[in-house]
Symmetry: C2
Subunit: 193 residues, 2 copies
């Protein structure tokens, strides 16, 4: 799915004929499902933002959307609650050696900053498909980067230094709440000492 600004979104809402391998979105949805089933957290992906322009009402109970357009989302894709705290994040994959900032809309970054200001927990999950590495990056670290850099991309090295590797496992597939425990609920935190 191509968005107006060229961001490639994962296609899990679509009928997939080819590649049925797990992408980041599927991994996160699976992880969230696990969190929900084990009563750990309630975190959901928001539906794709669209503008509907034509609907065919075949019958009272059977409506088909005949024309609709993808819309720039006004917030991030994922939010929910964990240990009483509001959780909000965006997840992105890149095929490149670095993470281009144009992959996140500016208002999504503003939204994340705003969430943290209001007492929520905000972060990014970024996967470098080429290296098969997935990182958790807190909004605080993202802010530090943006405050101190004019670069339009974040290096893998920055993620290695200021982010946290999310190892893949079977269940949950990527246990990002473990990092949140570390950072926000008094777990040990080697990086921030």
């Amino acid at each position: 799915m191509f968005y107006p600004n060229g961001i490639i979104k994962s296609k899990s809402n679509f009928i997939q004929y080819g590649n049925r391998g797990m992408n980041l979105e599927n991994d996160i949805n699976d992880t969230n499902k696990y969190y929900l089933e084990t009563d750990v957290a309630i975190i959901h992906k928001k539906p794709t933002s669209i503008t509907i322009s034509k609907v065919d009402y075949k019958s009272r109970y059977d409506a088909v959307i005949k024309e609709a357009y993808f819309k720039t989302p006004s917030t991030t894709d994922y939010n929910g609650i964990y240990k009483g705290k509001y959780i909000d994040f965006e997840a992105k994959e890149t095929k490149l050696d670095y993470f281009p900032l144009r992959n996140i809309h500016e208002h999504q970054i503003k939204h994340l900053f705003n969430i943290v200001k209001h007492g929520g927990i905000g972060f990014l999950i970024v996967r470098f498909t080429k290296f098969n590495k997935t990182y958790f990056l807190s909004v605080d670290q993202l802010k530090k980067f943006l405050d101190n850099n004019k670069r339009k991309s974040i290096t893998l090295d920055f993620f290695d230094t200021h982010g946290y590797i999310l190892k893949e496992s079977l269940r949950p597939r990527i246990d990002y709440l473990k990092i949140i425990d570390k950072l926000y609920f008094g777990g040990t935190n080697e990086k921030e000492n």
Copy 2:
């Protein structure tokens, strides 16, 4: 818009030719916009849940959805953060003298119970269009009703006794956070004493 189970959803995502008067959804969106602009809270409506089955990629940057279906939403329509707390609610209008429980999906009710269990604030906003009355009903009161009643609808009288009237004003249009202040942030609360 008619959903499979006959729930009438408001049409604000559609091009509206006739009635452009304010409905509950518009009132809430306006209120949330006000909260956002005045830096009081970050609360958004989720996009409509759909399943996309056909997309026409005219060009790389110009995709048109040609076939999609409305999907039963897995959560409520609204969530966000207020004073550090996770907020989650569903809003419904009824033309009847009472509020039919079939207007809310069972899993949405379960979701709201679950939110409260995890430390969030959950509630319903229900408008009786016939009487031009809008109520805030906490999940706790909803739960009490469901635990003690076999009725398939909630009377206006129940809302009068156990809910809170949301008066309409210019800005914000319906100040539901005022009730949350009362109930959760140590404001006076005549009804729950």
